[in-house]
Structure formats: structure tokens, C-alpha cells
């Protein structure tokens, strides 16, 4: 019994790993779009949408077949949430690309916040892959910094409507960082059973 559940959990880790790669890739692609280089972010996001359904199907199967408890249960619950976070990250990345394509204007704050957001997503997927809660503190710190950039972009919009593109993109980056932070919180939940 134990081994069969382990096989399923390993498979789920692999699927989440692939989704994590996809979300990082989508974000890189979105960054290029604000520099005028439009690529295939939408396609990546569609792929992650399908992968999320696969994770849900596998999670349902494992719950039904093996009635997992304790850390196994916490991992599966969290994998469901994390698959959603990763899908949403790719979706926001796609939105950034669409915004960059349609809304023109300076995007200085977004350019500053972009590497931090990418760092947050990379850290979150590493934390989940390795189940390393020591990385979670930095995720919360990054979230605060990116949130601050977002607020500044809104204030700037007040003074200069041409900064709409910056504010719109910053809004997506702030949401992305929020999802990365949630992934970090899930790592703590899996390890300690504590919801933060």
C-alpha cells in the first residue's frame, strides 16, 4: 500500500516540477515582451492549464485510492494549490505580454520589479521541489518589496496617465509574487502542518 502511494506522490512531484519550469519560462517570455520581443507566453499558459487538470486528476485518484493522511495528505492538498498558483503565474505572464503589446508607455518600475519577481518564482519552485522552508523568509521579503513597487506605480499613474502600462504590468507582477509567497506558505504547511 505504502509503495503505491509513494509512486503516485513521486509522479505528482514530477508534474509539479514540469509546471514550475513552465511558469518560469512564461515569466521570462513576459519579461522579453516588455522589451518588445513577443513570444509564446499564451501557449505556455495553455499547456499549464492542461497540466493543472492532470494534477487534479492524479490528486483525486490518490485521495480515493489510498486515503492519505499526515504529511502525505498535506503534500497532496498543497500540490493541488501549488498547481493552481503555477498556472496563475503563467496566466499573469500571458497578461503582461498582452498588455505590453496593446498599451504603450514607459514601464520603468516594472523593469525594476521584474528580476525580483522572477527571483520570487524561482525561489518558490525551489522551496517546493526541495521542501526547503529556509527559503520562505526571502519570499515574504520579496513580496513586500514588489508590493511597494506596485503601490508606487499606482501613485505615479495618478500624476501621469501615460504610466498606465507600468501600473497594469506592476499589478500582474504583484499578483505573481503573491502566488509565489503562497507556494512558500505551502512548504511550511507540508513540513510543519502550520498554516501561515
Amino acid at each position: 500500500m505504502r509503495k503505491l502511494l509513494d509512486i503516485g506522490i513521486e509522479q505528482m512531484k514530477k508534474m509539479i516540477g514540469e509546471m514550475a519550469n513552465g511558469s518560469v519560462e512564461a515569466l521570462e517570455s513576459a519579461r522579453k515582451s516588455i522589451e518588445g520581443d513577443f513570444d509564446s507566453t499564451e501557449e505556455i499558459s495553455s499547456r499549464l492549464h492542461i497540466m493543472r487538470s492532470d494534477v487534479l486528476e492524479l490528486a483525486t485518484e490518490l485521495l480515493v485510492r489510498y486515503s492519505p493522511v499526515a504529511r502525505d495528505l498535506r503534500f497532496i492538498q498543497s500540490a493541488i494549490d501549488v498547481s493552481y498558483d503555477l498556472y496563475r503565474i503563467s496566466r499573469y505572464a500571458m497578461e503582461i505580454e498582452r498588455t505590453a503589446r496593446i498599451v504603450k508607455g514607459p514601464v520603468e518600475l516594472s523593469k525594476k520589479a521584474f528580476p525580483l519577481t522572477e527571483e520570487a518564482v524561482r525561489l518558490s519552485v525551489d522551496a517546493f521541489r526541495e521542501l526547503d522552508e529556509t527559503l520562505v523568509g526571502r519570499l515574504f521579503e520579496l513580496d513586500r518589496i514588489i508590493d511597494n513597487y506596485y503601490l508606487r506605480s499606482l501613485e505615479a499613474l495618478n500624476e501621469n496617465p501615460e504610466k498606465a502600462a507600468d501600473a497594469l504590468i506592476m499589478r500582474h507582477l504583484e499578483r505573481i509574487s503573491d502566488h509565489a509567497k503562497e507556494i512558500g506558505a505551502r512548504v511550511v504547511y507540508i513540513i510543519e502542518g502550520r498554516r501561515i
Binding site: V69, R74, G193
Partner: protein, 252 residues
Amino acid sequence: MNYAIETRNLNVYYGSNHVIKGVDLKIPEKGVFALMGPSGCGKSTMLRTFNRLIELNESARVEGEVRLFGENIYSPDVDPIEVRKQVGMVFQYPNPFPHLTIYENVAIGLKLNKLLPKDEIPKRVEWALKKAALWDEVKDRLDDYPSNLSGGQKQRLVIARALAMKPKILLMDEPTANIDPVGTAKIEELLFELKDEYTIVLVTHSPAQAARVSDWVAFLYLGKLIEVGPTRKVFENPEHELTEKYVTGALG
């Protein structure tokens, strides 16, 4: 919180074999409390200390206290027969009296103990069979013998027999171990119905069953109490590594 059962430094020996080792346990009133653990961990032995049934084993020796609603049942002035009147027990193998009818099986305890005037017994039998969710299946054949019942029905008959005595506590020692899945589901549903009125202590070797039916759960391992707590907490986030291993099936 009021406790139906409380053990204080409970130790049980079979000869020189120390099987329960200094257990302090508090079982709240009303609800299902599961004792789980692998075979030989002492859970059935512990259950038998709660109604002094353990004394029927001549090599058994009990030290420490077991308090039922605050009273130490191992005090010299306590009569074990009186203890057992308020603590019903159901065993792994359904054990209705084969030579008695369904009706007589439920009525026998009341008659032997002269607990009720004769004319009130039929009413109590019906009440107990209804409580045990068996009435609808047997009401037209109360004079039939238990050999014509399924395993699950026999077990519910035994539960009705225990309930007829109006106990405060119901001890159940792996009551579904020999019952098919449909019968098991019925008994588990019955526990859900009864737990608002009775304190039910359920011994089970199945963590899945403890997770399904209990409100609190204690994990025993090699005679020691490893962990105790609300069922959801123990199954979602056990404190002790041994509990984690047991509930995830990684122990042994």
C-alpha cells in the same frame, strides 16, 4: 471538560510481561474515542481495564487508577459487577446467545439483573433494537434465532443487548473486524448516531476506521501512549514521528 474515563499511571502486567506502561489518558464524555495501534500494542488490554474485565485473566495485574466519571473503579469498595452494568462491551466476534431468540437476547440482561418490571421489558427491547438500527430488520421475527442473522446484524443485536442496560459507556473491541463492508458501514453509521448520548471507546487496528468514525484518537505502541488528540489534528499533523509512521503505513 468532563471525563468519562481517566487513567492515572495505569500499568498492566501479564505475569512478568509488562503490557501497559504508565498510561495517563483522559477520555471525554460523549463522542467516539478510538484507541489505535498495531497488533500487540495493548489496546484491547487497556479496554478491558475500563470495566475490570481484565480480572477474568488470572495472570493479569493492574496498577494505577481507572476513574469512571471521577470514581476509581479499582478501589477496594467497588464491586466490578456494578461497574460492568454502566459499561457495555462489544467484541470482535458477534456473540449473541445462540440458544436465545432475538428478543430474549436483548431482554436477558434486564431479566437477570431485575432492572425493570416485567411489563416494561418489551418496550425497552424495542427501544434498544431501534437504537441499534436493527428494529426494522427484525421486528417481524423477534422469535427467530440469531443464527439466521448476518454477521453485521448479529453485531447490531449485541449492541442492542448492551444498550438495553442503558450504560453510560460503550466499549467496542474491533467490532467490525469480522463484518463485511456493508455491515461495517452500518455499524459505523450507528456509532455516529449513538455518540451524542454515549461515550464510545473503539479499539481498532485500522487507522482508516479511526479517521472515519472517531472524534478523538489515541495511538498506543508497545504498551505506551504515544499520542492523543482530536482525530483531525492527529491525522493531518501528528506530533510524534511514530504516529506519522503508523498512520501513513510506514511502521514496521
